[in-house]
Subunit: 212 residues, 2 copies
């Protein structure tokens, strides 16, 4: 049975799940969520798809999962990939996935949204500047961690990489300058050169171009 | 061997780990981190305790873990408690722990810090108001989820409960009004009436009173 992923191109959180599915080799297909048309706010979406009102949502037969980190965990269990070699690696992967949810993707996603998907006159400038200052600390932390390493945790790609990269390939500006963080830059290049890798708007339906 | 937890009373993230340890029945002791004296910013802390510069950090013999969700996962593995009865519950717990890291504790912790631990003249008012508006949506979501339930995931306490409650027992005001969310209020009362439960400043060393 083909796994379905409810997603949309602009969502870096959906991208984390889509990229894990794509690189795992499991059979999957995207189902477009019309986020910008308000689909995730509608009662039907909340009651039948996801009570948290978020994308992505993965459906595999009777299994329905939300939160990208949970979907990645399921993909690892089913495919045997990206979950680490032993308990130590598994915990270290979870550590980076939680850090990403708390400090990197959450802040980057919100900041990118405020700058690119809100009318300029409504953008909360103080919030954007505050977020960007916090993000700079976290880019630096990841950049330092990647010194002398190919991947965040193990000797190959894990869910730590597939989580932390979630918002970092998007073309819309939100204050992240790859060239200022050479170890992050090299890591993103390395990951994007992996067989099967696709950029967010090539992997999932929906992009700003559709709404231009 | 007694497990050591590097922590400080004001940290809701440390509280999540401390409460899991305390209720699990494992032998543990706190080691006070002098966060307000700048200890987590020092190079020694970064190189010898935690390269992410955060608390809590758990040390159990050769195992050193950071991120409260990882420590909770370890406590569950070691004690057999709070981790769920099967794969479905395990994934649902992880879902709420990730949601909490992304949307609840991260925003509540930051907002409480800005309001209570920064000089009034330096507080970013627009950031605080923005965070509080986002938090209101998430309190509402948790309150709705708890309708007709005793616990977030299972028929007993799990790490989902021990994560989401992280900042909600603190006495310092940050815009969370228990009485406005009756299901959250009842759930917090239920948890606090569990044998062995302690409030943050009773469970960990350090509190605002020390610095008054």
């Amino acid at each position: 049975m083909t796994i379905k992923l409810y997603c949309f191109g602009e969502s870096g959180n959906a991208y984390k799940a889509a990229l894990a599915l794509e690189l795992s080799g499991l059979a999957w297909e995207p189902v477009k969520v019309d986020f910008f048309g308000g689909e995730t706010l509608k009662p039907e979406y909340r009651t039948t798809i996801n009570d948290m009102g978020e994308a992505p949502v993965m459906i595999d037969g009777d299994v329905r999962l939300t939160q990208s980190g949970v979907i990645q965990d399921y993909v690892s269990e089913k495919s045997g990939k990206f979950g680490g070699k032993d308990a130590t690696e598994r915990r270290e992967i979870l550590r980076w996935v939680l850090w990403d949810n708390h400090k990197l993707s959450s802040m980057a996603g919100m900041t990118r949204f405020l700058i690119n998907f809100m009318p300029v006159e409504k953008q909360p400038k103080e919030v954007i500047a505050f977020n960007q200052a916090r993000l700079a600390v976290n880019y630096e932390l990841l950049n330092n961690h990647l010194a002398g390493r190919n991947w965040i945790v193990s000797d190959g790609i894990t869910n730590a990489d597939l989580s932390c990269c979630g918002y970092l390939y998007y073309p819309e500006p939100f204050g992240f300058d790859r060239s200022a963080y050479p170890n992050i830059d090299a890591w993103l290049t390395r990951l994007s050169q992996t067989q099967g890798w696709k950029a967010p708007y090539d992997l999932m339906p929906g992009s700003p171009a559709d709404r231009a």
